[in-house]
């Protein structure tokens, strides 16, 4: 369980804990990617017409 270890380390370094938000980072990146791709798809349609 590498992620919990990491959390522990961080907790010791700072007095308040920094939460592990790797899953969040990936999730929001996927959402962002989806926005860009769908935009490009319709832009392609615009160029094609």
């Amino acid at each position: 369980m590498p992620s919990t270890n990491l959390k522990h380390q961080v907790e010791q370094e700072h007095s308040s804990s920094e939460p592990n938000l790797k899953g969040t980072l990936i999730s929001v990146s996927v959402v962002g990617g989806f926005l860009v791709l769908s935009w490009l798809a319709v832009f392609g349609l615009f160029l094609a017409r």
Partner: protein
């Protein structure tokens, strides 16, 4: 005793329930019209008794887009304010006044629409002319909502007086932001209705400046969609964390997002008028740039939601990159319905960015793609969140409990809605890309080859629409059950807290003068020059048209 635990008195509950009743009666009437629209559009169904397509489409748009939303939102917000900052007897009297004024206006407009005297659709674009009572009715709805604005402002003001130097409760802050935005934007629609439409429909003046009326309408029309969305965000930011057993991710971030919505929601109406001649393209461009600024608080919200879920999951001991996903209460409809609303907001948001992009707007403008888009934003994201709220709010108000039965029915309702919307909205999007128009009954356009491509999707919409209507019937049953039948008991009013040891929220976030000032300056910047230009260079106004639709 119930009141003590749930924090809402009997009197407050009765007030909020009245708003809920109007909401759910509207859902039934409006939903039935929606079903009829999809059937007409297959070409195999004709409306009986000489009812016109635009008559039912006006009922659908007005009652679902304007009435259901406004009543639910104002009722829900009264509940939030009563719970977080309290409501005095005097404030409650004014709140009832807002309810009755809005209801009288609604009934007056509804009668005109049902008589076929106001088939002008919910955007009531000039030069279509409805019966004057239709416009008076709308005025009452807006004035009633203003009373609610001032009650909410006064509630927070009184609380602040008693709690000097403290932060307002997050939900109360959010309600006041939403009502501020609503007040500022409805000034535009009130201006066009009172100064332009009413005198013109009464025959006191002969002509109407169409471009001015549309510009004032969309000055209101875009913030309108944020007026629908922000109450859903209130539930996402400040209520869902409690339901999943966690804390708010960041109080400051939530407030910042709401302030950005206030600032960037109004000076952007031109993105609905990109194909309108007579507006300087430069100013359209500026407003499109401002529109894209709304992406920032939207993505802040997405980040905040994922972070809440992940942190809560990790605290519960779920590890790995996505282990936290499993801890979410998938079988609790109070979570599941709003969560699916969030999921729907991903394609909905993507569609919105496409609509607002000048070039692509030309691909989708006035096609049924647009209808598909707002059935995702409004009729899925917002509505599923409102339904999710209903599953705890109505029991709180009626002194009953959510039982297993209602939870199961709620889960079923959510899934039925999603399936129906997948077919209906999906077909609308695809048909729109192929050029199928919105706001139109069936036609084969004299055998045009292009129109022949759409027919499969029209059937797709009818299938989706029928499934959705079943969803509406289930929801109505749920509402009745929670109002009259569910077991008596105390249901919690879920309000999440900020995490322990979090940084204090910066006071600048509650500097109302600053944020209102920036909002007003930005509106003045985005609208003054183009608006003066529109007034000075407009073509002659238009006489009213009562035919073929309108007041025929």
């Amino acid at each position: 005793m119930i009141a003590e635990k749930t924090g809402l008195s009997k009197a407050d509950s009765r007030l909020v329930m009245s708003f809920m009743w109007v909401t759910f009666i509207s859902l039934l009437i409006g939903g039935l019209m929606g079903l009829l629209q999809t059937l007409v559009r297959t070409g195999n169904f004709n409306l009986p008794f000489g009812i016109g397509y635009y008559q039912i489409l006006t009922v659908h748009g007005v009652i679902l887009g304007l009435v259901l939303t406004t009543f639910f939102i104002i009722g829900f917000q009264f509940a939030l304010m009563a719970k977080t900052v309290g409501m005095t007897n005097k404030q409650r009297k004014w709140a009832w006044a807002s309810f009755w004024v809005m209801l009288i206006g609604t009934i007056a407009s509804a009668i005109m629409i049902l008589l076929g005297k106001a088939s002008v659709l919910y955007t009531f674009y000039a030069p279509l002319k409805a019966h004057p009572i239709f416009y008076f009715g709308l005025t009452f709805v807006v004035v009633g909502s203003w009373i609610a604005c001032f009650v909410n402002f006064h509630q927070l003001y009184q609380w602040k007086k008693k709690h000097q130097g403290e932060h307002s409760p997050l939900l109360a802050f959010m309600v006041v932001i939403n009502m501020l935005m609503w007040f500022i934007c409805t000034l535009g629609v009130a201006a066009t209705v009172l100064i332009q439409f009413i005198p013109w429909s009464l025959g006191l003046v002969g002509e109407i400046n169409i471009l001015v009326s549309r510009t004032l309408f969309w000055y209101f029309g875009h913030p309108l969609v944020y007026f629908w969305l922000l109450p859903a965000y209130m539930a996402w930011y400040a209520i869902l964390p409690k339901i999943i057993g966690g804390k708010i991710f960041s109080d400051s971030l939530a407030r910042l997002a709401f302030i950005l919505f206030l600032i960037f929601s109004i000076p952007v109406g031109f993105h609905h008028q990109l194909l309108e001649p007579g507006i300087d393209p430069m100013w359209k461009y500026i407003q499109v740039v401002l529109t894209f600024a709304v992406i920032i608080p939207s993505l802040l919200t997405a980040f905040s939601m994922f972070a809440t879920f992940e942190i809560t999951g990790r605290q519960k001991g779920y590890t790995g990159l996505f282990g936290w996903f499993r801890h979410l209460p998938w079988k609790d409809v109070r979570f599941f319905a709003p969560f699916m609303g969030m999921v729907a907001f991903i394609p909905a948001g993507a569609g919105g960015i496409i609509n607002a992009s000048n070039q692509m707007n030309q691909v989708v403008h006035n096609t049924i793609w647009v209808t598909g888009h707002f059935h995702l934003t409004l009729a899925t994201t917002v509505i599923l969140t409102f339904f999710g709220i209903t599953y705890w709010l109505v029991p709180v108000l009626t002194g009953r409990k959510i039982d297993k039965k209602i939870n199961t029915l709620g889960m079923t309702q959510t899934i039925v809605w999603l399936v129906g919307m997948f077919f209906m909205s999906g077909s609308m999007h695809l048909a729109g890309l192929l050029g199928a128009p919105r706001r139109s009954a069936f036609s084969d356009y004299q055998g045009s080859a292009q129109a022949a491509e759409w027919i499969g999707y029209q059937y797709g919409q009818a299938i989706g629409g029928s499934i959705l209507f079943i969803g509406i019937l289930i929801m109505l049953y749920n509402f009745f059950y929670m109002t009259f039948k569910a077991p008596k008991g105390v249901e919690e009013f879920p309000i999440a807290e900020a995490p322990d040891g979090s940084e204090p929220t910066p006071l600048v976030l509650e500097n109302w003068k600053l944020w209102i000032g920036i909002t007003v300056v930005l509106i003045a910047f985005a609208y003054t020059i183009p608006f003066v230009d529109i007034i000075q260079n407009s073509p002659p106004g238009s006489p009213p048209f009562e035919w073929p639709i309108g007041n025929g």
